[in-house]
Each structure stands twice: as structure tokens, then as C-alpha cells.
């Protein structure tokens, strides 16, 4: 089989000093230049976000890329999609590369759906004739036939995403890069996307797939790469790599401080900066007693006022199986208003989780559905089988199931 992607010793060095003054002003620049003359050449500390990454992907392989937040997965995908240049090393891509990092980018609100399909197609690298040929398919896939000549700014966020994905999905790349795109859209659309991905894979195209969702990785990928702290630590069949990821991933327990680079998803009007699970005395704790309410405190850094925010808190098992999802709009609750600054939110969940290890996920959306920020695997916590004071310990020898619903029993009585 032919090689589709060959990566040889790729490395990426970030200058932290310079990153700090990202949108710098001229004055900073003058200062930095002056400083550079005084202290020699390299100002500020540096960080290898990736180092010595080498691997080959054969045409037709479906490869999962896994690792913790900030391990370097996204940097790798950015280099392969040529958004940023590697500092060292070399990669060769054979064939047309499409990446679902770019869903909906290049859509212009003032243009109609039809116009945007052509514009977006051109941005993704399709020839005009190619878009002509696939136009009907794209529109049908997105299900927006009736709104083709409406400006996209009047679309719902769901329609927007569907149309954008439809264009990207019809690019027919030889190599497809997917980075957690499945976080957007409603469930039926997500299923459509997964279907499209396995279709792409079964057509013998190459797929590189980054996700935190281990069940999906396991079901789609034949091979996985584990990246940790910028290094490729394991490369092999999916089951083995996923297992060692789960074993070695020492996620912070009970609380998590998030850096700017940890979260790249969403529109970014606000970012989750810190989240913690509160124990009995109000301090953060990585373990909860059995039947103790789950209390989560979150700090969001809000850059632009959000008047209709919906927080989604999710709990999953270590291998990514979602157990529960809670939103502040559940049972008719109001959407939240976030003023600029650091905003604290506290949620108390009445759920009795069975004694296991769990992972917390937090995301913030607009009421209309568009994602503002999304952080998977915020922190890990465990529930122990000892109850706090009620004597309601978890007694079964084996943990069966994930939650204990509250129940009302009727004692035996004679009925005949």
C-alpha cells in the first residue's frame, strides 16, 4: 500500500515571551527589540510543543490521535494542515488533504447559502466545475434546499453548521483530518457526520481523527497514536493504545486550572479558566463520598458579554461513556447572563453516582446552540463506597451500573 502521510522528526518551538505579547503594540515591540540587544538574541523562555514526532500512515488507514489537553495533538494537526510551520523536521502528504478544522470558516453572513457553497468550496480547494457537479448533493445533505437564496446570517446555527459540514464533507479529500467536529450539531446530525466519516474510511481514504471520545475512537480507528507532552509515546493498534492512555492519563483530580491554549473550541467570547469539584467543607476534592451531592464550581473568563449562556456539565466514565448531562436550562431554567470579567457559577447535582472513577466535561453554549467554549476531560474524580454519615454505604461486592436513582418502594402486601 502507498504511503499517504510521512512525518519525519517534526518539532515545533514556541517562544513563550513572544506569545505573551500576542497582539502587541508598537511600544512592546520597541521594548522587546531593545531588550534583545541588551540580553543577546533570544528573548523569553521557549517551549517545544512537539518534538521528534515521526510516523507513517498508509493510504486507507484510519488513525486516531489521542492524548491529554495540551499534549500537542492540535499543534500536530495544525502543522499537517499547513496552518503553522514546523520548526524542524519534515512531512510529506500525498494527495488532497481536507480538514474538518475548518467547518464553516469562510462563510460570509451577508452572502446567500448558494453563494457561500461556491465561496467555501473555493476556499477548501475545489474547482468551480467540481462544486457545480456536487451542488445538489451538498444541498441535499445539508437539508437547506428551501433557504438557498437566503443570506446565511438568517440561518439557525444548526443550519449553518450543516451546510458548512456538507461542503467540507463533499471535498472528497484523499486524506481527511477531523478534530472533534462531532461536538457540534444535534444528535441526528452527529450521526450523519460519523456515517460520513466511516464512509470516507471505507472508500479507502485516509483519516486522521483527534478525539477524547474513546468509544468512538475504538469503533472507527484501526490504529492509534498517543501523544503526551509533545512526544509520540505509543503507536499501535487502537485497543492497546487506548488502554495505556486511560491507565497513564493522570488527569488532575478534583480541580483543573486551564491555560489559554487548552481550549481551542468554540467562538471564545468566554473561556473556562478553572473548575473544581467541591467536597463537604467547600474545598475542592478529587473524591466524593457515596451519595454526596455532586457540586461543581466553575470560573469563566468572560471577554464579551453573553446574554443567553447555557452551561452544559457532563459526567462520563473513564473510557468516555457519557453518564449524565446537566444544563442550567433543564426543566425550563433561564439562560445565564455573563458579564465581562471572571464569573463564578456553582451547580449542585442531586445524583447518586456509584463508586467508580469519573470524568467531568464542561461547555458553554449560546441558547441558540453555537458553542462558546468546550473543554472535555476537565478533571477526574472518584466516588468512594463509603457514605458520609448516614450509614448508606455502597454494599454490593461488584459495582453494577453507574447511578442509583431515587426510588419509592411499596412493602409486600397480600393481594390474593
Amino acid at each position: 500500500m502507498a504511503t499517504a502521510v510521512r512525518v519525519e522528526g517534526i518539532g515545533k518551538l514556541y517562544r513563550l515571551g513572544r506569545r505573551a505579547q500576542r497582539v502587541g503594540s508598537l511600544r512592546d515591540a520597541v521594548r522587546a527589540v531593545a531588550g534583545a540587544f541588551r540580553h543577546g538574541r533570544s528573548p523569553g523562555p521557549t517551549l517545544w510543543a512537539l518534538r521528534d514526532i515521526s510516523f507513517e500512515v498508509q493510504a486507507g488507514e484510519v488513525v486516531g490521535i489521542i492524548g491529554r489537553n495540551g499534549a500537542g495533538k492540535s499543534t500536530l494537526l495544525k502543522i499537517l494542515s499547513r496552518l503553522t510551520e514546523p520548526t524542524e523536521g519534515r512531512a510529506v502528504i500525498e494527495g488532497r488533504l481536507g480538514s474538518l478544522l475548518e467547518v464553516g470558516t469562510g462563510f460570509h453572513g451577508e452572502l446567500t447559502g448558494r453563494e457561500n457553497v461556491y465561496l467555501n468550496g473555493a476556499i477548501l480547494g475545489m474547482r468551480r466545475a467540481e462544486v457545480d457537479r456536487k451542488f445538489d448533493q451538498i444541498v441535499e445533505f445539508a437539508g437547506v434546499e428551501a433557504f438557498l437564496d437566503t443570506a446565511v446570517k438568517h440561518y439557525s446555527s444548526g443550519m449553518h453548521v450543516r451546510l458548512a459540514f456538507a461542503v467540507a464533507a463533499h471535498l472528497e479529500p484523499d486524506i481527511l483530518i477531523v478534530d472533534e467536529v462531532l461536538a457540534v450539531g444535534d444528535v441526528s446530525f452527529q450521526r450523519k457526520c460519523l456515517g460520513k466519516m466511516s464512509e470516507v474510511a471505507s472508500e479507502g481514504r485516509t483519516v486522521l481523527f483527534v478525539s477524547h471520545n474513546m468509544p468512538v475512537i475504538k469503533s472507527l480507528c484501526t490504529r492509534a497514536l498517543l501523544i503526551d507532552a509533545g512526544k509520540l509515546v505509543e503507536d499501535g493498534d487502537t485497543d492497546g493504545v487506548v488502554l495505556s492512555y486511560l491507565r497513564t492519563s493522570d488527569m488532575p483530580k478534583g480541580e483543573s486550572h486551564l491555560r489559554q491554549s487548552d481550549s481551542l473550541m468554540g467562538t471564545g467570547e468566554a473561556r473556562l479558566r478553572w473548575a473544581g469539584i467541591l467536597g463537604r467543607n467547600g474545598t475542592t476534592s478529587g473524591s466524593l463520598h457515596f451519595a454526596e451531592p455532586l457540586r461543581v464550581k466553575m470560573h469563566f473568563e468572560v471577554f464579551d458579554r453573553v446574554s443567553d449562556g447555557v452551561i452544559e456539565v457532563g459526567v462520563s466514565t473513564l473510557d468516555g461513556q457519557r453518564i449524565a448531562t446537566m444544563m442550567n436550562t433543564d426543566t425550563g431554567g433561564e439562560a445565564f447572563t455573563f458579564e465581562p470579567g471572571i464569573q463564578e457559577v456553582l451547580v449542585e447535582v442531586d445524583v447518586t453516582l456509584l463508586p467508580r472513577d469519573y470524568v467531568l466535561h464542561i461547555s458553554l453554549h449560546y441558547y441558540s446552540g453555537a458553542t462558546i467554549d468546550l473543554v472535555d476531560n476537565v478533571t477526574r474524580f472518584s466516588v468512594i463506597n463509603v457514605a458520609l454519615d448516614s450509614g448508606d454505604h455502597y454494599r454490593p461486592y461488584e459495582v453494577r451500573g453507574y447511578v442509583r436513582p431515587s426510588t419509592r418502594w411499596q412493602a409486600p402486601r397480600a393481594v390474593g
Binding site: T84, A91, I93, E94, T105, E110, L119, I123, A151
Partner: protein, 281 residues
């Protein structure tokens, strides 16, 4: 960014590696010509969307400017206009000036405006500033209608020099690209550019012979500033191609070389800066 392989047969093979300085790949820009077309088309389509007057603005803008300048400079200040009716005189300066200034302004802000494209997908980044400058040509061609009406109204008949109009229009666009590429790349890192730009454009306007005749510029220092401003020759040339008068002369050669020099420097700077666009923007 890694350059596309030169192997024409397997066009789709992409090599990604740290780029060498000065590695400039015009072929790649050519391969993406359809995208360039769509980006220009987008600029044009979007510009006057949701405006009541729509495309009418293309004519109204120079018309209003012409009226204002005619009243202030023609009536009150009574600036000499090389023997032409002042409104016609100022319009022949305004059109190339707006082609340049509009292009420069759009180009300078273009990369930041399209930040979400830069951070999400690869294509030659140069297309963005180039398309922003080219989009001005559509307005320019349409506003030639206004110019035509004015010429007929004042009974001025252009001579053979009319054929040189495209040259001057092209020079104005090229100048917008040359300076705009610098500003666009600088603006990614230093947003000071977009704050300072309106002042820059305003000053530039006053050192260009739009509202006054180039013949007024005679003394030492103003002569020097004038000579360093390539748009002065372009505007003068444009006016000459329509209504005759003082030709651009040798100065045009100097202006063209200056524009080309700035362009080459801009391309080199742009290439060096674009590596970090996605990280810094």
C-alpha cells in the same frame, strides 16, 4: 509554509518543512487563481449589501467628494486647475486616488478581518491582501461612467493618451498592493496600524495632486516629498491621459521603480511574517 512540490505530474504532493527565507512561489498563487477570483467577488458582493442605495454608492462617493472639493478649493480657495473646469479637474484626481486609498485601507485590514480563515485553513495568504486591492477595480470601472458624463458635459475630448488609462489604473492598484502588503502583515502583530492608517491616508491625500495642480509644487522640501510619493505621478498621469496638460514625464519611471521596490520588499516581509500569522493573530 511548505512549498508545493515542483513536480507538475503529482501536483498533489505537499512537502511541509521549515521554509527557507525568500522562498516565494508565484506558481502556487496561480494555482489558486479561482480562489482569488472568489475572494474578489466576495469583497464586491458584500460591500454594499443591505444598503438602500446599493451599487449607487459607487457613483455617489466620488460625486459628493467632487462637489465638496469644488466648493471649498475651487470656489473659496480658487486653486488653479490647469485651465480646466475645477469639478472635472478634481474628479480626474479623485478616481485614481480612491482606487489607491480604498485599496490600501482594505488591504491593510484584510488579514485581521479574515483571521478565522488564516487560523483554520491553508491557502497562499497573499491572496487575501491582493484580492482586497483588486476589488477596488470594480468600483473604479463603474465610476468611469461618471467621468464620461463629466467629460461630455464640459465638452472635453480626450486624445490618444486615453489609451494609457489602464496603465495608470494598474499602477494605482499595484501601489495599493505594494504598501498594503506591508501594512497588512504589520497589522497582524501591531494593531497600531489600523489606528494610524486613517491619518496616514489623509496626509497622503494632501501630498498628492488631487485637489490642487502639480504645477503648484515648486519649492525644495515640498518638491522632495512630492517626488517620493509615487501616487503623485500616477494621479498626474491619469489626469493627463484624460484631459492632456502636463504629462507625467520621467518622474513616472521613478514612481514605478519605487512602487516595484516597495512591492518586492513587501513580499519578502510578508513571506517571513506569514509563518506566524496563525499563532499571533
Amino acid at each position: 509554509m511548505g512549498a508545493l512540490s515542483d513536480d507538475a505530474v503529482s501536483r498533489k504532493r505537499v512537502v511541509i518543512q521549515p521554509s527557507r527565507p525568500l522562498a516565494f512561489n508565484p506558481r502556487e498563487v496561480w494555482e489558486y487563481r479561482e480562489l482569488l477570483f472568489f475572494l474578489v467577488w466576495r469583497e464586491v458582493r458584500v460591500r454594499y449589501k443591505q444598503t438602500a442605495l446599493g451599487i449607487g454608492w459607487v457613483l455617489i462617493q466620488p460625486l459628493i467628494a467632487m462637489v465638496i472639493f469644488s466648493v471649498i478649493f475651487g470656489q473659496f480657495a480658487k486653486l488653479p486647475s490647469e485651465g480646466l473646469p475645477y469639478p472635472l479637474f478634481v474628479l480626474t484626481g479623485l478616481l485614481p486616488w480612491q482606487l489607491f486609498a480604498g485599496g490600501l485601507t482594505r488591504t491593510a485590514g484584510s488579514l485581521v478581518r479574515d483571521a478565522n480563515l488564516l487560523t483554520k485553513i491553508y491557502f497562499p495568504r497573499l491572496l487575501i491582501p491582493i484580492s482586497a486591492a483588486l476589488a477596488g477595480l470594480v468600483d473604479f470601472v463603474l465610476s468611469l461612467v461618471l467621468l464620461g458624463i463629466m467629460l461630455v458635459y464640459y465638452g472635453v475630448r480626450p486624445g490618444w493618451q486615453l489609451l494609457t488609462i489602464p496603465t495608470f489604473a494598474l499602477l494605482a492598484v499595484l501601489a495599493a498592493i505594494a504598501f498594503g502588503v506591508w501594512l497588512a502583515a504589520l497589522n497582524v502583530r501591531y494593531r497600531d496600524v489600523q489606528v494610524a492608517l486613517p491619518f496616514l491616508v489623509q496626509i497622503w491625500f494632501f501630498v498628492s495632486p488631487v485637489a490642487y495642480s502639480a504645477t503648484l509644487v515648486s519649492s525644495g522640501i515640498s518638491r522632495l516629498v512630492y517626488g517620493l510619493n509615487p501616487m503623485a505621478s500616477v494621479i498626474q498621469g491619469f489626469r493627463w491621459s484624460l484631459v492632456g496638460g502636463v504629462g507625467p514625464g520621467l518622474q513616472l519611471l521613478g514612481a514605478t521603480s519605487l512602487i516595484l521596490a516597495v512591492l518586492v520588499g513587501g513580499l519578502i516581509y510578508f513571506r517571513a511574517a506569514e509563518k506566524t500569522f496563525a499563532d499571533v493573530i
